[in-house]
């Protein structure tokens, strides 16, 4: 199954066409701070994602999702690592999520109060229907937010310490449950 040059070329064209289209989609809004290859996101949507990630993992006495730029990681992963079908679904789900916010709270997520945001997420947490785009978007975004947070410099140096150079392996040591950490 040799990769045929034409497929590759087509992909390349598709990518550059995507990029060319991007500015047009953004004419009415502030630009996203990131250069994205496949998906179109405006500045407000980026802010919405930041707030959503922060509702998922809020800053307390310790950093929250925004402090580790989880929303930018979400965008990078959706843009680079999702298949086209998943990218499309994530974008459609984003719109459905905003619609759900409007239906429930009478305003979009960004303009909602913390209580309204929590009410929306509480509702989304209970959705079992796998076909629900808003819930799919929410769960995908949440998964990426958690992944970013738990692999962030903060988490891996202060919470669960990652050792680049352990210099040891012990096959059988007593297991001591860790003391509960305050988040």
């Amino acid at each position: 199954m040799p990769l045929n040059r034409r497929t590759v070329l087509k992909q390349f064209l598709y990518m550059s066409a995507g990029m060319a289209l991007l500015p047009a989609c953004l004419q009415h809004h502030a630009k996203s701070s990131m250069l994205l290859k496949h998906i179109a996101i405006d500045g407000d949507q980026e802010k919405t994602l930041a707030e959503l990630s922060e509702t998922i993992i809020p800053a307390t006495t310790t950093p929250g999702a925004k402090d580790v730029s989880a929303h930018l990681f979400v965008l990078t992963m959706v843009d680079d690592c999702f298949t086209k079908a998943d990218r499309d679904r994530w974008q459609a789900g984003f719109a459905a999520f905003e619609k759900m916010s409007n239906d429930l709270n009478g305003k979009n997520y960004l303009s909602s109060t913390p209580q309204q945001r929590e009410a929306l997420l509480t509702k989304l947490e209970t959705v079992k229907d796998e076909k629900d785009d808003a819930a799919w978007f929410y769960q995908a975004t949440k998964r990426l937010t958690i992944r970013c947070y738990t692999s962030s410099k903060f988490y891996l140096t202060k919470v669960q310490v990652y050792e680049l150079v352990p210099s040891r392996y012990k096959g059988c040591v007593p297991y001591k449950p860790a003391a509960r950490k305050v988040a």
Partner: protein, 566 residues
């Protein structure tokens, strides 16, 4: 360096700088021969060219993942478990060197100085006579022209230099070697080891021998290598030289003799055969940067391009004397190609040892040497399989909900019970129908005919897979493991990355390509000592055997050169 015929003439030429080529280079240069190593890929210098080696997880843009575009454009290499963001620069992308899959074959390659030695999983088990005698006893392929006693001193030779960590287990089917101390097994691995030896008289679970410096010796320090620091990030290249790679070990050693010339960006197109002299005089190289064809000359040529590429080079080396490929009087070149069956895996949980865990990371695991059909035929399939065995406790994060509760849960992941897992490494039977051929008209970027791979599993492989599931499930069940799950990855041949054969060794020039010294029967100054030479595959990870065969063949070649016999 000028560009006269004289400056392009060496004592020895080695094609490829991976595990086997690195060894050929070391042995030749140490014996005083001016040696040219031709490597199709770019240069990769130890330490200097390991761009990701000291990165923390958060320093990877995609936290290790491969992007969708890369996956889509490169489905084959994307199936390799080690093709991740931290090491993808050491793999060949599908698009960089296309080939034709008459049947699905995942050809995983590393084209650079060091080849796949940077990427390998470093498992190193010796063969025994139960392996070498397989074809003769069971009536397949041809008899190996060597036995354990022929290679044993060479296993020792390469083990001492490479540094192999292991336990003296005293098993006849997996001979002991020159070992550095083993690392520990986990409580559950030790439990399973004891359980198996008590309950099965011919089965053993041992510490898997691996090419790691657990306690470096002077010979390793002299190479500039240090102790393995249990990072388990080996595929990035090791800043401590803790595991064996050509880049950290054999190549810098060869360089220090002053006898090595390394030429990266050099695709060997074919070997030049001189009809008058009746031997090979050199090779034709395509410079990947200038696309120019250049000839290099030497008295002896070692082909170490990794099994598949070695077959291509010989098939493409045609002459009046050898119209079907160099040394191919028998017609077996490119045929009887084989691999390891890695399709089966099994996982389970163990409810014991709740008060124990592991600390740090281990670069290896436990290992079950082949126990099927070892001494005599006892199943409805030929040969058998080895298996890995590993264990550990995981971290389980509760991710339901959001806000402070979720955050609290993320800060306090729950330590799970013990999980255990094994994967199968099955011997496949070389068959004439599993073959490599060159396309009659289509060529690659370097003017070399495109490769066709026509390789498939057979009934023996299916039966063996079934037996692996049955036997492992039985052992796991009896050992008290629960939630046992078996899986057939259905992966294509090749993804085992233990491709072998096509230029097999044998006693008879009518049915084999190479003699007992890895020398082409019909063209005595050309040697093949990578996986292509393998008459059968047995179940061991093969690279240690390539290393030993290479050192042994160089020793022989140099003796013959001195006697003017090549």
């Amino acid at each position: 360096m000028g560009n006269t015929k004289e400056t392009r003439t060496f004592d020895a030429i080695v094609i490829g700088s991976g595990i086997s080529g690195g060894w050929a280079a070391k042995e030749f240069t140490e014996k005083g021969l001016k040696t040219l190593v031709l490597e199709r890929g770019r240069d990769v210098q130890h330490l200097k060219d390991y761009p990701t080696t000291n990165k923390y997880p958060w320093e990877f843009e995609h936290r290790g993942d491969i992007t969708a575009d890369v996956k889509e454009a490169n489905p084959v290499v994307s199936r390799c478990y080690a093709f991740r963001e931290d090491a993808m620069h050491f793999f060949v992308k599908d698009t960089e060197h296309p080939y034709v899959q008459d049947k699905p074959f995942d050809w995983i390659r590393g084209y650079q100085v060091g080849g796949k030695s940077l990427l390998w999983a470093r498992q190193t088990q010796r063969w025994s006579d139960f392996d070498f005698e397989g074809p003769a006893r069971d009536g397949f392929a041809v008899d190996w022209p060597i036995r354990y006693k022929d290679i044993a001193p060479w296993y020792s030779h390469v083990e001492k230099f490479a540094g192999i960590s292991g336990n003296k287990d005293g098993l006849p089917n997996l001979p002991d070697g020159e070992f550095l101390p083993p690392l520990e097994l986990s409580c559950v691995e030790n439990y399973f080891k004891d359980f198996v030896s008590k309950n099965y008289k011919d089965r053993n679970v041992i510490y898997a021998r691996c090419a790691h410096l657990t306690e470096p010796q002077p010979i390793h320090l002299e190479q500039g290598r240090g102790q393995c620091q249990k990072r388990n990030l080996c595929q990035r290249g090791c800043p401590f030289g803790g595991y064996f790679s050509s880049n950290s070990s054999t190549l810098p050693w060869a360089q220090r003799t002053g006898n090595l010339t390394m030429r990266p960006h050099s695709v060997v197109h074919s070997i030049i055969y001189d009809e008058q002299k009746g031997k090979a005089t050199g090779v034709r190289v395509v410079d990947t940067q200038s696309k120019e064809m250049i000839e290099y000359y030497a008295n002896v040529i070692f082909v170490n391009a990794a099994a598949v590429n070695t077959n291509i080079i010989l098939l493409n080396s045609t002459s009046h004397r050898f119209p079907n490929g160099l040394g191919n009087d028998s017609g077996v070149l490119g045929k009887y190609f084989a691999f390891h069956n890695y399709r089966g895996h099994i996982s389970a949980e163990y409810d014991g040892f709740k008060d124990s865990t592991t600390d740090g990371r281990t670069p290896t695991s436990a290992y079950l040497p082949r126990f099927r059909n070892v001494v005599k035929q006892e199943t409805d399939f030929l040969r058998g399989y080895a298996a890995g065995f590993s264990s550990g406790r995981g971290k389980n994060m509760h991710t339901e909900g959001f806000g402070k509760t979720l955050k609290e849960n993320l800060f306090n992941p729950e330590t799970t019970g013990w999980y255990v897992g094994s994967h199968m490494m099955g011997e496949t039977i070389p068959k004439e129908s599993n073959k490599l051929t060159l396309d009659a008209s289509k060529k690659d970027e370097w003017g070399i005919p495109l490769l066709h791979l026509d390789i498939a599993y057979d009934d023996n492989d299916e039966k063996m897979l079934k037996d692996f599931f049955e036997q492992m499930t039985e052992m796991y069940t009896k050992a008290g493991f629960t939630n046992i799950k078996t899986g057939d990855s259905k992966q294509a041949p090749g993804l085992d990355i233990h491709e072998m054969g096509g230029v097999r060794m044998g006693n008879d020039p009518k049915t084999s390509m190479l003699n007992k010294w890895n020398q082409l029967h019909a063209c005595k100054n050309v040697f093949v000592t990578d996986g292509a030479c393998m008459t059968s595959t047995s179940t061991q990870n093969p690279s240690l055997t390539y290393m030993a065969l290479t050192a042994r063949a160089v020793d022989y070649a140099v003796t013959q050169l001195k006697k003017n016999e090549l």
